[in-house]
């Protein structure tokens, strides 16, 4: 059973059709990177997986549960899906530690002591245990993003969704975040990553999906999609990304 399975997914915003029939799946333990030009629909696809965007039609399954079914308990389903946003979206009024414990306590009903222990473990994992009592505004972008990863991990998700996690970061802060993600991949986490980091995709991904104009153009191992793309659109995109200004 695939961790994520998407069948004939369509999404329109008004008259604008952003996703035009997407079929794809992510197997357990796989790291799948979604690449493509801006406006290609890749972020929308990611947001349809945990139904932050309501698909116009089609089906989304996570761990065999159909999230697009009208009777499904979305809140329960979302607990299994960690999400990391481009803009971090840490809770600005809470300390780092509280950011990581609040959903554990309020959603999973873990006792405070257990939630704190798990939070500290995950902050350790992203290298920020000493920032537990800081507020998000006191951290750099890279640190905030690592806290956001710890916050999602503390819920023991079966899948992590990353929506351009390094796009809002200063270049020198990108490395730390990618390092955390790389380690997560090595630990066997199932990951769906929308990214512009070709190096990361080539090195870490089991599969790379190239999207353009709301459809999947190419889907395969990185050595194929990035190193030896079969489609003109993929080649054109990669040429522009890998050799800007040429």
């Amino acid at each position: 059973m695939s961790t994520v399975e998407i069948r004939n997914l369509h999404k329109s915003f008004g008259k604008l059709e952003v996703l035009k029939g997407i079929d794809f799946s992510v197997e357990s333990g796989q790291v799948v990177c979604v690449i493509g030009p801006s406006g290609s629909g890749k972020s929308t696809l990611l947001r349809c997986v945990n139904l932050l965007e309501q698909p116009t039609s089609g089906q989304v399954f996570v761990d065999g549960v159909e999230l697009t079914h009208p009777d499904v308990d979305l809140d329960a389903a979302r607990r299994r899906l960690g999400m990391v946003f481009q803009q971090f979206n840490l809770f600005a009024h809470l300390t780092v530690l509280r950011n990581v414990t609040i959903a554990q306590e309020r959603v999973l009903k873990r006792p405070r002591a257990e939630a704190v222990r798990i939070a500290r473990e995950n902050l350790e994992k992203v290298g920020l245990s000493e920032k537990a009592d800081s507020y998000p505004a006191q951290l750099s972008g890279g640190q905030q993003q690592r806290v956001a990863i710890a916050r999602a991990l503390a819920m023991n998700p079966s899948l992590m969704l990353f929506d351009e996690p390094t796009s809002a970061l200063d270049p020198e802060l990108v490395g730390d975040v990618l390092q955390v993600m790389r380690r997560l991949a090595e630990d066997g986490m199932t990951m769906l990553v929308v990214t512009h980091e070709m190096g990361f995709a080539r090195e870490v991904a089991d599969r790379v999906v190239f999207m353009d104009h709301g459809v999947i153009v190419e889907d395969g191992p990185p050595e194929q999609v990035i190193a030896d793309p079969q489609h003109n659109r993929t080649r054109e995109f990669l040429r522009r990304v890998l050799h800007p200004g040429v």
């Binding site: 607990r79 899906l81 979206n89 819920m155």
Partner: protein, 276 residues
């Protein structure tokens, strides 16, 4: 050079330099001000002013009730009105975001109506409530009626403030909370509303100042000697001693609270502006 300067000089009439002109303008402004002060000072009857407005003997009669009764009641009326306004205002702001149409309409109508009416009118109406709801008594007598009157009016203003505050919380905060599995209500209560309240603290402080002054309307509810607030207290004392000094004293007591509060609101606003 010198030649041409000598030729052009007579063509232009000797004028004042910009700096000189500024000096003249400032001199005129000072002159007008001093003249006005002199006229007012000359027209005023200083002996009478000292006797009627700055009469220390009369002012002393205000103590200690000015603080132990009048100011205390003013604070009670203000705070209780603020608490009701805060709660109702927050609920109205949330209603305006509801997906249920009638909730939005009711909240919008409430805000329009109660911002459009003079607060005095509300206070005149409160006494008549039992006519509409037979047997109904506002609990807490005058204190309850005052809290209700001030609360009903301030709720309309606070609802708009809260609405702006809720809208100012980035959308990503709600999305992050939902993505962690929080139901909508839980996300509102734990994540969005606390941040919205933080954003609206400065404008709410200003609202508190307005309420503090509006609490003077309580006098229209018909209050006893132990229920008086600052304005009626000053007025009553003025009648008793046939001397308006107590009204001035009440005024100064208002300023004792409103000026620091207004200052605090501006400080909070500046601090928030800096941290954003």
């Amino acid at each position: 050079m010198t030649d041409t300067a000598g030729e052009e000089a007579p063509a232009q009439k000797p004028r004042l330099s910009p700096r000189q002109r500024q000096r003249v303008s400032r001199g005129i402004q000072y002159g007008v001000l001093i003249a006005l002060v002199i006229v007012v000072a000359a027209l005023a009857d200083w002996a009478a002013i000292r006797q009627s407005f700055l009469n220390l003997d009369v002012a002393k009669q205000d103590l200690p009730d000015l603080f132990t009764v009048a100011l205390k009641n003013t604070v009670i009326y203000t705070i209780s009105g603020f608490v009701i306004g805060f709660a109702v205002g927050l609920v109205l702001a949330l209603m305006r975001q509801s997906s249920v149409g009638p909730y939005r309409w009711i909240a919008a109508a409430y805000v329009e109506i109660f911002r459009g009416l003079p607060a005095l009118l509300i206070f005149l109406m409160i006494g008549s409530l039992p006519l509409a709801f037979p047997g109904f008594q506002v609990p807490g007598d005058v204190y309850g009626q005052a809290a209700l009157g001030l609360g009903v009016v301030s709720a309309a203003y606070m609802a708009e403030t809260f609405r702006a505050g809720l809208q100012a919380v980035p959308k990503g905060q709600m999305e992050a909370a939902r993505s962690l599995g929080m139901p909508h209500l839980r996300a509102m209560v734990s994540i969005v509303i606390p941040q919205a309240i933080r954003i609206v603290i400065p404008p709410l402080t200003n609202e508190l100042v307005l309420l503090f002054k509006d609490s003077s309307l309580v006098l229209f509810l018909g209050v006893t000697a132990t229920q008086v607030e600052l304005a009626k207290f000053g007025n009553d004392q003025a009648s008793t001693f046939a001397n308006p000094t107590p009204i001035l004293v009440s005024g100064l007591t208002y300023l004792l609270i409103t000026i620091p509060l207004g200052y605090a609101a501006r400080r909070l606003e500046a601090r928030q502006g800096a941290s954003r």
